[in-house]
């Protein structure tokens, strides 16, 4: 399968504090990749570097055969959509206004939205079950509802790659499944490439084809959940006592957590 995103020798630091060191990563078309690690390990930074919201200190990010450093933000946004972690919006845009903004990268200055754009927006709202909210104001909605609106906006961008930053953070448990089932289905049916940053182990195990463990500013391990989520790795990265096991009730692999290694003082 074709290479969609390639991260090479990527380094980044905030002020003097290193966040990422020599990160290498490849994402192929149609894959669902989970970037997993504890809070503050640099996962979100890595995601922001992947669509060039941040500029790397050194190293490159390639989108197919293009170095992102040489591509305009608008062009990047035609291929990569992002669902950010924080989604607070203070102004009274309607849900439809927000989802329509997903068409921005495709419009010229002063070019109005076409009926095609309206159709794409309706479809995105239907897929994420926010159609009933279309005329509601975004600043009056709950965090979970807003999250689904932002996901609708990302889908309206008709991206080849979607980057999700802690997508389940604001969502009720039923909507967590709804949203991730949708993303997974788009990946299977339309070849959408998905990168999910999370610290939610069970969710990543359920939905991701591949897991990248980030530890100590670096890629610690990269492979299928079976290969990666060993007792030793989970101990090193999360400091927990856990194993990946076949669960007969779920009829799938699942992480069983026994406890933490953190010393009580």
């Amino acid at each position: 399968m074709g290479l969609m995103l390639k991260v090479k020798d990527l380094c980044f630091s905030y002020r003097e504090r290193p966040v990422l060191k020599d990160v290498d990563l490849e994402v192929r078309k149609g894959e669902v990749v989970g970037i997993l690690g504890p809070n503050g390990c640099g996962k979100t930074t890595l995601l922001k570097l992947m669509n060039r919201n941040l500029r790397p200190e050194s190293g490159q990010v390639w989108m197919e055969d293009k170095d992102l450093a040489a591509v305009s933000k608008k062009e990047i946004a035609r291929h990569i959509a992002v669902v950010p972690q924080s989604n607070e919006i203070r102004f009274a845009f309607t849900v439809r206004d927000i989802v329509m903004m997903g068409r921005m990268p495709f419009l010229q200055q002063f070019q109005g939205e076409s009926s095609d754009d309206a159709r794409i927006v309706d479809e995105a709202m239907r897929k994420t079950n926010v159609s009933e909210f279309a005329d509601r104001y975004i600043n009056t909605m709950s965090g979970g509802e807003r999250q689904r609106v932002i996901i609708a906006r990302a889908i309206a961008q008709r991206p080849e790659i979607i980057l999700l930053d802690e997508p389940t953070l604001h969502l009720d448990i039923n909507h967590q499944f709804e949203v991730l089932d949708l993303v997974k289905r788009l990946s299977k049916e339309e070849g959408l490439t998905v990168v999910i940053v999370s610290h939610d182990l069970p969710m990543v195990v359920k939905y991701c084809d591949r897991i990248v463990l980030i530890h100590d500013h670096k890629v610690f391990a990269d492979g299928t959940p079976d290969d990666i989520l060993t007792k030793e790795n989970l101990k090193t990265v999360f400091n927990i006592d856990a194993v990946l096991e076949y669960d007969a009730t779920l009829k799938a692999k699942s992480v069983k957590i026994f406890g933490s290694y953190t010393k009580q003082s």
Partner: protein, 341 residues
């Protein structure tokens, strides 16, 4: 129950109402004289019909002032609308960023230290303009930390720098002696001295700035969601924001350069229109142009109607007397609709 259609209908109604009100207040303001003309006389005189006196009153005495009021009102109002969007803060305005204080300091410097090389009529607007742009540059570079310009820092820097510059203006008023009256008068704002030469300088600057701002209205919508959202949607945030800020400073400076500080237009007008029309800058910015022009012409008309006995009341006083209470009313009554908290 189609929300989009309802909104479109409301937009058309608001634009039509603004057009009509602007026209009515323009004619009323054009009619002002020692013995005011009637509405009909003023309207006819605008097209050169009627007695010679009427035509002189309308076309020569009043028209430049009314045109200047339109330009200044439109400019201050759209600059306020853009700043509120860029900073995602309904309180942002040219004065919060310290731009008005900067311009006032420039004017005060020009009036206090009468430099020989330029007549004061030109020196005041020139220095007001230069100081206004310099203030923006100063505020922007103070808040520029590690390749980023956080909104909160920018607003706080604007308030701090504004306070410092206002103190300097007060200092100049204190030491100015003969020119004290002039400085105080300028900081109150007045349109009385507007003439065609002033307009010829101000108009192109304001029009150019407004065109740039309207060009970026879609990007401004994305910026209102936050820098990260805008970047994700392909907006070159730093470039767009800097251009928009320079354009707003340019428009503000041009607006206040000849007529002095006129407060509350940039705060109140876009604020009211955002409540009525919603936050979409593609309709809000053009509406702010119309609304700002209408508001200032109305204020000028009011100042002329109520003040013949005490001389001409500076318009800055009227805008503040009308604007501030209305703003407080909005704060108390319409909070949720503006999209606060």
């Amino acid at each position: 129950m189609d929300g989009a259609a309802k909104r479109r209908k409301r937009t058309i109604t608001v634009f039509a109402a603004l057009f009509v009100l602007l026209f009515v207040f323009m004619v009323l303001d054009l009619a002002q004289a020692f013995i005011p003309l009637t509405f009909r006389e003023a309207l006819l005189a605008l097209f050169g019909i009627g007695s010679e006196t009427n035509v002189i009153i309308v076309q020569q005495m009043n028209l430049p002032r009314v045109i200047m009021a339109c330009l200044v009102g439109a400019g201050l109002s759209i600059a306020g609308a853009v700043m509120q969007a860029v900073f995602r803060n309904p309180m942002a305005s040219p004065s919060i960023l310290g731009l008005s204080s900067g311009a006032a300091l420039g004017a005060a410097v020009a009036m206090t230290f009468t430099f020989a090389f330029l007549p004061m009529v030109l020196l005041v607007p020139l220095l007001a303009f230069v100081f206004c742009l310099a203030t923006l540059f100063l505020v922007y570079s103070i808040s520029h930390v590690g390749g980023k310009v956080p909104t909160e820092t920018l607003l706080l820097a604007g308030i701090a720098v504004g306070a410092f510059l206002s103190a300097l203006v007060s200092l100049l008023i204190y030491i100015a002696g003969d020119q004290m009256q002039g400085i105080i008068y300028w900081t109150m704002g007045n349109l009385t001295n507007a003439d065609w030469e002033n307009i010829a300088i101000v108009a192109p600057l304001i029009i150019a700035g407004c065109i740039l701002m309207i060009t970026y209205s879609r990007e401004l919508n994305a910026l209102m969601l936050g820098d990260a959202h805008a970047l994700d949607l392909g907006v070159e945030v730093r470039k767009v924001r800097l251009q928009l800020l320079v354009a707003s400073a340019l428009v503000t400076a041009a607006a206040v350069a000849f007529v002095g500080v006129i407060g509350f237009v940039g705060l109140v007008v876009p604020h009211i229109l955002r409540i009525v029309l919603g936050p979409d800058n593609r309709t809000l910015l053009p509406a702010s142009l119309l609304g700002g022009a209408m508001f200032l012409v109305m204020c000028d008309y009011i100042s002329r109607v109520i003040s013949p006995s005490i001389g001409i009341l500076p318009i800055g006083i009227i805008t503040a007397l009308i604007g501030a209470p209305y703003f407080i009313y909005l704060l108390r009554r319409r909070r949720s609709e503006v999209g606060w908290d």
